[in-house]
Assembly symmetry: T
Homo-oligomer: 152 residues x 12
């Protein structure tokens, strides 16, 4: 069976490559998405990517994933730190999900150390750059293949 | 060139498989280490694993890694939450390092959400079970191949 | 005179019936809205319901209510806990308003105990399931009939 | 079956009508109790009301309710904010219970925003004046008729 | 060279003149924008104004300003207090920016004293009513003429 | 009528130009005062400037301003963060007042983000360098001309 | 006119003379009451004293004072630190009241520094031993003679 | 000499056996008291037991113990967490005292981890069920036999 | 023997009568000092009064009091809340001292509830207006006549 | 069946008798261990005692106890306050365990009031001197005889 | 080259020898200054000492040191804990500086553990009595001789 | 008499010279120890140095010092911030002790500003590099020669 994965990028991640490259690297979002689609294909899976600056649009996308996706990879951007609405959406759809951050959020401003999302996802990856997305996909597909990964 | 990686497991991780399987899974530490060694080999790298319940012994091992290793993967166990001595050791050796937790520490007791280690490592992975170690190794070797990964 | 009431549902409430039924019950949002419309009619009042996952859309709706509504019933969902923008909208329109939560937010995660909305509404109801909306409507219409209920 | 409800008023509520009418309104406690008894009768239920300034007497009344009542409506007055003994009594008797406040406690002094009682009751109502008691009764009888409302 | 400035108004500022005039004055937003446009013209500059209740739309506008504007004046409304996403947008575009508040936010509720935006802008103005916008524009154009004002 | 304005500079501001130019710029205090006097004259107003390292002397000057001045511009330097005595003096004289900081205090050490002065002044300006004083003067004279600006 | 004053002593004050004399002195409660009655008589006033270990009984006494007393002197003992119910009683009766402590509560355990009572009384006296009661009586009678002292 | 011990049970402990048996066990209070009286007898001591829901009554009992008892065993129930009045009573009578809790208060809600009583007693026992009372009695009698146990 | 008392008034108290009369009353400082001198004379004592806005001058005066005074009455004004230097001076001279506040500092802004002075004085009086000074003098002379009042 | 109990003493407890006897008494560790061994024998049980200053050695001992012991008595010394590694070891082995402190930790420095160990043990005893160990042993053997005492 | 050192003593240090000798010793300030001058001479350096109770005067002295001194030794007395103005002065003059305290400030009241000065000086010495000044001088002269010691 | 001093270096100090030289300088630990031994000899004293990464080993060394040493100089490294076990060891042996840090811990990360060791030592030195050890030795020998330096 071909697993289907939703890859969600939150606010300001459309500026990747451009924005503070010391934190976020120089690779553009399109390139990351392209690599992730290829990687999914190599695993016989399908990946659809989406970016939005709007909290409501991100919630809509998560809710719709109930209807077609087997798992979610999400970089919530700055919503990580306060969007309990995003958290509730992830908790409500009950799909296995991995939270990814490009930079090591623990080595930056204090507010970046708090994630209101982390308690409702399966796992988190931070500081590994674009490789973090790949790691999340590998693990997510592995968990799905094991028949698990959902929230208990 | 064959990269050499130190894999460190902190206190109580020798009980894996046995201890609170709902958090930590049923795979034994020996099995994880064996898988990691094979995976390293597949990448043409070498991995040496070590477990200790003693903070001092873990610090000694990190210090010695300066002399032979190219990177560190560390699951600091409960030392994650208070061992500034371990943190200082990792900062002092200046090797690329990834902190790994088997369980999603953010979904458990409040004290598990604080890592004093995270600000000095390259990245962190949590909640992905044994796959988290594999993800860390993949990313670490990728970073080394890119010629980077160390702390700036 | 027929009072007109706006009933607003915040993020993820469109999933009602589906989502964590132990917290939120098994009744769907459509059913709650239908019951509320009937109840309003029985009181000779009119009720219009609206759900959105978008903070901006919720604010827009509250602002427009200045032009047609006599009172507001709002379940702000997770925006309860951080949306000072929603709070400012409610304070700005100066209509009597009741904040409703389906579950007993005080018996769940710590963050759910803080409402930034509560200080600017007339009253709050929590933990009474769909009956909480009915209670809010009864009280709101009673207050309006008394000629009051607005914020001083 | 005729449900029997205990209505408990905590410290200083015997002064209602007299005391800070901008917060508590001008209706006297006797009038509220009379209205509530009539309302209960209309629903084919029985309501007994009690006021005391003494924490111990309130606990005694709650404990005795185990022997005759089907539900509790309680305005704990200032004990709301610190009486863990009252909380333990409510938790111990395991009857469905609704906490009511006449004023919007969230719009007043900071200390009034904390309820140590709320986590152990079924639901809470605040800021709706005497109508809050009526709302609580309606909801409580509805929950009992549904066969539930107790604490899980 | 004619500098181009983006003037952004956050949630609920479209109600200006109407809303809590003791805090926000009686001048309407259209009037403020008109005055600001005239003032810009007098300085040989161009000013474009925008208001939205939506966090995502505000972020979009800031991101687009990278392509045409030389500086930003922003009254983030209530987003001031929690929108790290707005903050990240301002930090990412690296344009000189001034945060303006009509009222003296320091003399109101405690939560209004915290700005998550302030650390990433050039400067802040509060409590000077519509004159605060004029002051921001004067200073911003002066800084641009000096060849600076951007974030280091 | 010619308005008279007191311009007060607190501790260490006599070192301007010399001291940490990355924060405070290279313009000397004498130059700022001279510019401000000229600017006041252009508006038909009179400005008297004063600097002191002594909290008591600053309070004395504020108290005396009751007898001759129409408004106050004050950069309290480090007293901003703890001098409740200065705050009480400003509150007691009830003149319109603007607090000015040369640097963006919100982008520096945590303690600089707290102003005990701000709640009793009309408005605040920060991060705009010497232009902040000019902005404060413009706004203050405008407010006085409008017949207001004092504390309510 | 002869003013009538209620003097209330809270829990454990019946042990005075006996209990921790380094904090509370060696004078017995009866002796203090006798002195206070004489002192009241000398001022042409009447004083009635009461001690109870029960929070409810203290509230009852305060409520009854509405019917006969012109002012209250109260040493709330340890209830000082948490009895919001006592505070509400004092606020409700709206009589001028002075809070007295025999010892200097500020020089003892941290918890003794917080009084939940102080914000609703006219004034407070601490650390002056039995003389504190005399000082409170003098001031209270003076305020009554001035025609004031009540809470606004 | 036959030591005399007061055994005090605070609020809601009269419900033992009935109330939340997973925390408090299934043994009734009468049975515990009977066991304790027998155990005291076996040691040649006398034990008198008392339960009350009223804080004032508990304080009265402690004060009276000065006149007849050699030591106190107290389970303050929920008063543990806030009754500084109870604490003051125990400190005032200066008898050796042991605080006992049936359940492990440290493994339950956060508020149960704070005891305002503990700093003034000789020792504490928690989590050992009814055996905790026996342990307290053994230790208390041992301390008395050693000629000590009082507070210094 | 004729006791000699130093009466110290801190910052902004020279404005009494003028400044915020709802908090501080309408009596001028000169009038208070005159009353206090007469009152001291009536007791056969001598009182010298001093006001300064300068923390250093207040400390100097306290230090000099070692050489001539038997006791100190001090209203530290806003220095109450942060002047550890004033506190150290009072602790160093080891004279009996009473801290007086005209207004009820506990019923105003949060910061006014903290006194860094209170732990080192004999006692405190607040909220009794000018009568507070008289109360302090009475008590201080009484304590001196008893041969005590100093700090242990 | 003869139960086997591990008695563990943490850092600095080898100095007992010598170290701060006002807190810890004058009995040496050897004497306590000898008494405990005799007491265990009297109950037909076996007790093995161990002291170490090393956190790692204590964890090792707890882990090994899985293989031979039926219960644990532990005085973690200062590790009580921060060793989450010790806590995890106790939680992992899932044996009934009692935490013992010789002194009343609640009557000493603030940091001694926090135990990170207490939430994972069966019960705690403090302040009863060497008798605390005896009380722990009695209770532990009783719990084992009841067939319980382990962590659920 | 002969280094010139400014030795500054803050408030109440003029009372040394007299004041709380258990904390501060019995040596007078003059004696300390004399010893320090001799010690400086022995090192071929010059030391000028100054004491003031006035924050402003201390700042003035630090500012003037820019013009003649090579380093500063400062005991800020109680200003240590809150004088950000003193801190700014030390940061502004950019001379190597050592903060000295006679007593071990960490073993006294909680507020003495915070130094707002320490982050801007080269080093700190506490608890070594007058020897602390000598240690500071030795180290300061050594650093100057090494050609460093200033703040980077 | 020749005083004997123990010099203890905590975790990671064996890397001195190598590790973050901007904080810790370029001198190796061996060199520091050699200098300290020579300096001790010059004073007619004996110094023995020891480094360990193990908390237990450091505690063992401190305990053994009771048997041979007259004083302790300790740089606890990162254990400074959390090792209450090390603190208890130092308190237990009751030898005069000085805590030394090479870098100015107050100018670095927030966690480095807290020392759990400082309240039990005689004094502290920080930020003076290797000279801090020399300063500690000088002061310690001086205190011993004065016949004091121990903890009271």
């Amino acid at each position: 069976m071909a697993y289907r994965i939703l890859l969600i990028h939150g606010p300001n991640l459309n500026l990747l490559g451009d924005r503070e490259p010391s934190h976020y690297g120089t690779m553009k979002l399109e390139e990351i998405n392209a690599r992730m689609e290829r990687l999914a294909e190599e695993h016989g899976a399908e990946l659809r990517a989406l970016q939005s600056n709007s909290e409501g649009a991100l919630i809509d996308a998560i809710q719709e994933a109930r209807l077609w996706a087997d798992g979610i990879i999400i970089n919530p951007g700055a919503y990580t730190h306060y969007s309990y609405a995003l958290r509730d959406a992830l908790a409500a759809v009950r799909l296995p999900a991995v939270e990814v951050h490009l930079s090591n959020v623990h080595a930056r401003e204090e507010f970046r150390r708090t994630s209101v999302i982390a308690p409702v996802v399966t796992g988190t990856v931070a500081g590994l750059g674009w490789r973090g997305y790949a790691a999340a996909l590998d693990a997510l597909l592995g968990l799905l293949a094991d028949g698990g990964g959902g929230q208990s």
